[in-house]
Symmetry: C2
Subunit: 301 residues, 2 copies
Amino acid sequence: MKLSILGCYSATPRTLNNTTSQVLEINNHMFLIDCGEGTQVQLRKHKIKFNRIKHIFISHLHGDHFFGLVGLISTFRLLTRETDLHIYGPKGIKEVVTLQMKLADSWTNYNLYFHELTSKKSELIFDDDKVEVHTIPLNHRVYTNGYLFKEKPGERKLSIGAVENANINVAYYRKLKQGFDVVNEDGVTIKNETVTKPGRKPKSYAFCSDTMYKEDIVPIIKNVDVLYHESTFLEQHAHLAEKTKHATAKQAASIAKQAHVGTLLLGHYSTRYDGLNAFKEEAQAVFEHVELAEDGKTFKF
Amino acid sequence: MKLSILGCYSATPRTLNNTTSQVLEINNHMFLIDCGEGTQVQLRKHKIKFNRIKHIFISHLHGDHFFGLVGLISTFRLLTRETDLHIYGPKGIKEVVTLQMKLADSWTNYNLYFHELTSKKSELIFDDDKVEVHTIPLNHRVYTNGYLFKEKPGERKLSIGAVENANINVAYYRKLKQGFDVVNEDGVTIKNETVTKPGRKPKSYAFCSDTMYKEDIVPIIKNVDVLYHESTFLEQHAHLAEKTKHATAKQAASIAKQAHVGTLLLGHYSTRYDGLNAFKEEAQAVFEHVELAEDGKTFKF
């Protein structure tokens, strides 16, 4: 699982600070999460093969999370993309994108599917043999969802000694990896778990931005390997966080602790602070495993 | 008159190539012309005091000329702007901007005025004591206008010897500069032109992008000091220019020659070419005074 941070600052893009966008590579999928203005340039700058993106997840319709979407869609057209593109986001996202295509008289030559979200409960919105994606209802000034990405369990591993001793024809190894019991050369049914071990543990990633402190997301994100939780402010500005429906680093850490996540990744920083270390320090007072998102940084989990 | 090129490439923003946007400072006005994605970052990067912008002129609603507009409007809000902002552009521009503000539930705290254009004839769209702005109807795939910016004549200059000999009270000098006749200390009416000289010659700038070769703009832009004319292609791709309703460097030069402009400024280059010199050479074969727009370059005329 690889996460590339294209932008992790709040409010407005600046010379050195990009607004929210990240690319999650998980089980051979490449997902784009949020798409602030300039995301397509960040994709190029960081040499991401962005034509591989087939699914884009938009948390909410504030500009710093989606003003780059229409430009990216338009660029895919100019690059003569043919692959389907799926957009997940709040109701209204289809109208605003299609209005711009209409005004420009520039329609995509690939299929563009909008999956508009309105539910305030967590929903399964994407599901294939590799990955599933659920919404995480958040509490912000406008309708907002985080997204939970979960790998499907991989194939089981053969316990080499055991499988050989069991006198199983090699032709059945594939079925064993898929979890089935098989009949051996002696006509005896071999229980799968006696000759295989679980595959590698499926990874999971939860993206939660933008939101104020919201404890009821804890059951949804329980035990995820990585939680990206917004921390627009430090505790000294908790009143601003409450007013603008954002979170502090301490609040993000509290959510991480309650959800027993593996790593907490902080982001969506206000640019009012000098540097990011104070965010990490504040969070680590509550929860140990904290990392700082930074524009251009890549994490492998 | 100062022109700052924020972006002058066609189609899509790239790591080193920005799409169309420029700032024209003329007679104490600061006008923004077109606003491709990332314009607000370019404004910051080039340290332009962009809160001084009160008027934005959008040529047409293709993304590479206006996808940065809503972000800039939104950033002005976050910067707690209070000054009125006027947007000039094709019909539809108001709907698309206001839809995005509605979806974000984020309305400006300053007054935002839209001046939607539909005419196919040149119109006077802005006029004060310093500058007037006219549309230049262009021929592109969607409804498009260029813009002609003309300084108003400045104050006349006193002919010092003559004005002293005429025995005029100093209190009347201001009226003389404004072009009025005055009565001198002896009760005699002094004709203005006998004691004053014309002020400095008013400057003018014509922005023409995007358009195919269109001779009937020549009378509108006649004798302008500077003509920015798009040259997306070189003549070797004249067939593409025709197909996509763009112009070649040679065609831009032909327009400049017919209109007797002072300087031709080329821009809106396709990124298919290695370097820009070929554009200049091709144009100079037709018209001598050619300059190349480049991202981040500033011209003083």
